[in-house]
């Protein structure tokens, strides 16, 4: 075979595989949305799930997923931000920094189920938090921390040197420079990254099976006292999230319409993740325009 034919053949194969990937994605989204959307209505999104009979909704699960996301981000953002700022601004190249970098890398490659098991052992059993939103949020925060650190480090490193030097020339302290000069500039990409990370949290299930549990007590949406056991915002109650619910429906499948509910819930989950993606991009650009007065994000 001469070189020209080989070139054409190889190009053809590469293009074929690229098209195949797009087709797989289109097919997946098509199947998920087509089968799921028919099942989604207001009743499905707001009513509680059924254990035995058909017609259950996903209301509490949807609420749990969103509330757990908020709790997780409350824990993740401050710690991840601090870790990332350390890596970008304080760390000096050397053995210690290399070690911390290794820690972040290892932490980000731990299987999520192992993080969940660690949560079960330490928070659920040893600290006696039980299967609860709090245990789940801590486990998810651990799972999400390395990503947050990396996002923060990259956002801070992307700030032009001159901005920092201008601050140094004015005689500001390092911390003042970080909070008043670097943070605002890094904010757009920080926000984009954080929302994308939040999308990942939203779909996670393996780390939650043994931390936030697979059940939800009957919730009373008129009771907003966080200390009451039936209050939706009590952080010490067990909470089955949307992703966990999909898993449970498929592996236990006691309700007769398990497949339809799972299809509807999958569609809701995927739509939420798509929304996170779109909002992340749009909001990052919006903030960037607000604080820099330039039209385009670099």
């Amino acid at each position: 075979m001469n070189a020209k034919t080989a070139d054409k053949l190889a190009t053809g194969i590469i293009v074929f595989f690229a098209v195949l990937i797009v087709a797989i994605l289109a097919g997946l989204l098509g199947i998920i949305l087509f089968r799921g959307i028919a099942h989604i209505d207001w009743h499905f999104l707001t009513s509680p799930s059924q254990n035995m009979k058909a017609g259950g909704g996903i209301g509490p699960q949807l609420f749990n997923s969103l509330f757990l996301l908020v709790l997780t981000m409350i824990i993740t953002i401050p710690i991840g931000l601090g870790g990332g700022i350390y890596m970008a601004e304080y760390a000096r190249e050397g053995k210690v920094t290399a070690f911390i970098r290794l820690v972040v890398e290892v932490l980000s490659s731990f299987p999520s189920i192992v993080v969940g098991l660690f949560g079960l052992l330490l928070f659920v059993n040893t600290f006696d938090l039980g299967y609860s939103l709090l245990s789940g949020a801590i486990a998810l925060a651990i799972f999400n921390l390395p990503l947050m650190v990396r996002i923060t480090e990259q956002s801070f490193r992307a700030v032009p040197r001159e901005q920092k030097e201008a601050g140094l020339a004015l005689g500001l302290s390092k911390w003042k420079i970080i909070t008043s000069i670097l943070l605002p500039v890094a904010l757009p990409s920080l926000i984009t990254g954080t929302i994308l990370a939040a999308g990942r949290v939203f779909g996670e299930a393996a780390a939650l099976l043994f931390t936030s549990g697979m059940t939800t007590p009957p919730l009373d949406f008129t009771d907003w006292n966080p200390l009451h056991p039936r209050s939706p915002i009590n952080p010490l109650r067990p909470a089955e999230t949307l992703a966990v619910h999909i898993w449970k429906l498929n592996s236990e499948g006691v309700v007769p319409d398990a497949k339809q509910v799972a299809a509807g819930a999958s569609a809701v989950l995927v739509i939420m993740v798509l929304l996170f993606n779109l909002v992340a991009r749009w909001f990052g650009r919006f903030v960037y325009r607000k604080i820099t007065a330039s039209k385009r994000m670099e």
């Binding site: 731990f110 992703a243 898993w247 993740v273």
Partner: protein, 303 residues
Amino acid sequence: MENTKPASRGFARHRREDLIGKTYTYLCVLMLIVVIVSIVYFVASKGLATFTKDGVSLAEFLFGRSWNPTGDTPSFGALPFIAGSFVVSMLAALIAGPLSICAALFMTEIVPGKGKRILQPAIELLSGIPSVVYGFIGLTVLIPFISSLTGGTSVGYGVGAGALVLSIMILPTITSIAADALTSLPRGMREASYALGATRWQTIYRVVLPTLAPSLWTGIILGIARAFGEALAVQMVIGNAPFLPTSLVQSASTLTSVITLNMSNTVTGTVQNNVLWSMALMLLFMTFVFIIAVRLLQRRNKL
């Protein structure tokens, strides 16, 4: 004297601010280290109890083929699960590896610019789909399809279905690493090859791929690592029978699927429970192996 006063007060504020910043960021980093040390310590202490306290031999755990933890003479051979994990993740990488590298080549070599604008969002969306949704699609679409392919002789569950589902899940990991590597390649290398009269494929095959081989392998190993640790999607399609996988369409198990299914059915402290922690320890151990492999590859990076 009067002139120095405001200055020294300024310095005091300066120092106080820096102290706050340092304390805060150092505490955060310390937290990361505490987390990782405690994960390893707690999982290891539980996982090793199987061998130290319950007297199960390490050889039985690693090489035993019989898994019957609740029998009269209980046996704890985890080889079927260890093999299952390795087989599905290797197969997944075998499918996803070439596909991902083609996708990365498409984005950077064949249609740079436009190809990236189409394929990049597609890849990001694929990585955003939650693993339970992949499992659900596998369960309701792939399994009946595989079953019909075998003419109904098999239900469809097995390492084949597991590997297919995982291959889609690790595709974004490998593609984005490969694409990053390809864009980092200096233009001069490609141009030198074209100037010698090489075709595009010759350039890719003889210059681009060999130069980037360490990075591409890094992507593939990280993909395998992700597949190895994935729990729910695999558990939903693999069938969960405790046997060594001998056929693509025969029900099998992985380490993660066994942990998922049995952790809440066993009592804390019993040997049946501890042996699950040993499997979790095995997952941790493999994570370290994968990271060491990646580090070794990066050292060989020719760029």
